[in-house]
Symmetry: C2
Subunit: 349 residues, 2 copies
DNA sequence: GAAACCTAGGAAAACGATTGCCGTCACGTT
DNA sequence: AACGTGACGGCAATCGTTTTCCTAGGTTTC
């Protein structure tokens, strides 16, 4: 790793340029009134020494660190990443850096991180997590603003940015109805999981609005492919007829799809399939590619960061803010134009 | 988000406790010689004001920030996360915080991050990325130590911690040979990808050591399930006989497995299947669960962080350090004890 | 009872950068 | 020649903390 040079200070720069530190500072920050020649000399000295102003020292004055903390409630993973990236986008533009803290689902660890972040004088904190469920606030009367993203705070005065999962479920059902499927089943995650309950309830309600109902009560289980396959088996075994399955996750949908195909049902001809999450890995692996609800996690992260910045600048936006989901339609709900496999008769070209 | 309290300073604490700031500092840090009663009084005042020492101000003296930067070369994702978590483990013990910077594969952005991190006076930098390929150093003569994790630096004097992919491939082949499979095919990612080439070369070499060779030249393509399926088709169509397929990724393996099963080959009875990455999502979704090579990314992150800490403390470890991979054996290479599906005859219990 | 010695805690100088204020110099004006 | 006026830069305070040095007492010791 080569020779480690020492960090140059503004004193070094000033000395090299033959001016006082105050003048050097002004020269580098475009303040005060200096001859252009002086500025040039200082800038050249700074360049030569690879000078980078010590942010810590600078922050001592401004009272701001241009730094935010991001705490994940549980483990950082598939859902936190896009949120993180969105937040980074929004914050990067404001030249802010992010401290990442992985709570690992341990409240003690989490509290420790909060203390650390506060001692580092972050300008604000974003809290996120794998579950959309409301959670206890990370602290009360904290000296910096906090925004919850994806997950929400149990305190309604906190600012939370969440996906409109119910709306997403409604869009899925709307789509299925629009393509003429009325005998819909719903297979989803564990019933102690907020997302599963919310999506199932919205599904049932939306169908009720049309005077319809699910062909069977929602099947609660897990979020895995295995559960999808198992649930599909239950459905097939019950003898219930159905022409569409709306699944609580793409993984479930994939498991369902595999099981249905194994049982001789064609997708989408016999059964239309809709997933949730729009997770590329599952979407692309599924046969055929899966129609799915996208929660726009990156947009969510961006929005959360923007609200945090606003709060830092004195304009907080308390309350729960729901962002719309959108449906990405693929071949699991629409007959492909030209199908490479066996497909129902139709004009071939 | 409630009332925002101002950050208390040590001056506030000192005033409340009725001592000077110097004394307050000593009391809180266990320095100097003070009466126990005085210490108690100061601690109580600090507690009452929710005092957290301003890390920036403190760092001004110590010259250290107890902070490291983590830069991802490309996008933060499936490979960076475990590395990040491992690093967090190792650093968290040292009370260090992590600045996360997502380079998004843009060198300009990356250089900007390096500057930012330096101005924030991080004690060190960890560079990681999705590809194991050697990359240009993020800088020369930087004032802080740098460790590359997963990805490696093109400068051999830099410290890089990488998985021993070749060793992993050898272990996979060892295992296949041990279970009596000698007609092995290899399907992997694009040949411009370092990992694909390294693994393929190691595979070929290991077989050569036994006087064997692949049943066909390695099939280079992509990392996806789709490619796996396609490649399996090629293999089947060629008429080549094979009793095992070693795949460059779990996704490929899954695609291969699905295609083989669709073609009537039983796994592992007819064809044993080994993946690479040991990615839970793919492993569990595959039927049967996939034997796979695990690169121990978390251990890699931990090791990288430990080496960084050592370097910060004056004991750098230049060079490329390869960490062993290990093979996780599952049912795609071992006949299950009791099989729920059709299985070759054998004592049923 | 005085010299020597602790001990507790205060005062002030750092750390690195910013910024308001003020002095100085070179002009131009009357 | 005396004065006013910009322009240019230096000085010093400031941010919050740590740390060194120092002093004012009280305690020991002979």
């Amino acid at each position: 790793m080569g020779r480690l040079e020492r960090h140059a200070t503004i004193t070094d720069v000033a000395a090299l340029a033959g001016v006082s530190v105050g003048t050097a500072s002004k020269a580098l920050n475009g303040r005060g009134s200096l001859r252009e020649e002086t500025r040039r000399r200082v800038r050249e000295a700074a360049r030569q020494l690879n000078f980078e102003a010590n942010a810590g020292a600078r922050n001592l004055h401004s009272g701001r660190t241009y730094t935010v903390g991001m705490i994940t409630t549980d483990t950082i993973g598939r859902f936190s990443i896009p949120v993180l990236m969105g937040a980074e986008d929004a914050l990067g533009a404001g030249e802010m850096s992010i401290f990442l803290c992985d709570g690992r689902g341990d409240p003690i660890r989490e509290q420790y991180y909060v203390k650390t972040l506060l001692s580092r004088r972050v300008d604000g904190i974003i809290v996120t997590g794998r579950r959309t469920e409301a959670r206890a606030p990370i602290g009360v009367g904290l000296p910096v603003p906090v925004v919850y993203a994806f997950i929400s705070s149990a305190d309604p005065d906190d600012c939370s940015v969440v996906p409109d999962e119910a709306g997403g479920a409604r869009k899925a059902i709307d789509h299925l109805l629009a393509i003429g499927r009325g005998r819909i089943a719903h297979i989803t995650g564990p019933d102690h999981h907020n997302s599963a309950r919310v999506r199932a309830a919205a599904t049932t309600r939306r169908l009720a609005e049309e005077g319809l109902s699910l062909v069977a009560p929602p099947l609660f289980g897990g979020w895995s492919e295995a559960w999808g396959g198992q649930a599909a088996g239950i459905l097939l075994g019950s003898g219930t007829e159905f022409d569409a399955v709306f699944c609580g996750s793409d993984q479930i949908a994939r498991g369902v799809g595999d099981a249905l195909r194994a049982a001789g049902r064609r997708i989408p001809d016999d059964v239309a399939l809709v997933g949730f999450d729009n997770w590329d890995v599952m979407i692309e692996g599924a046969k055929p590619p899966l129609t799915s609800v996208d929660m726009n996690l990156q947009g969510l992260g961006r929005s959360a960061a923007e609200r945090l910045l606003a709060a830092i600048n004195g304009s907080p936006s308390p309350g729960v803010h729901a962002l719309p989901c959108h449906l990405v339609v693929r071949e699991s709900t629409t007959v492909p134009l030209r199908s490479p496999q066996a497909s129902p008769p139709g004009p071939a070209g």
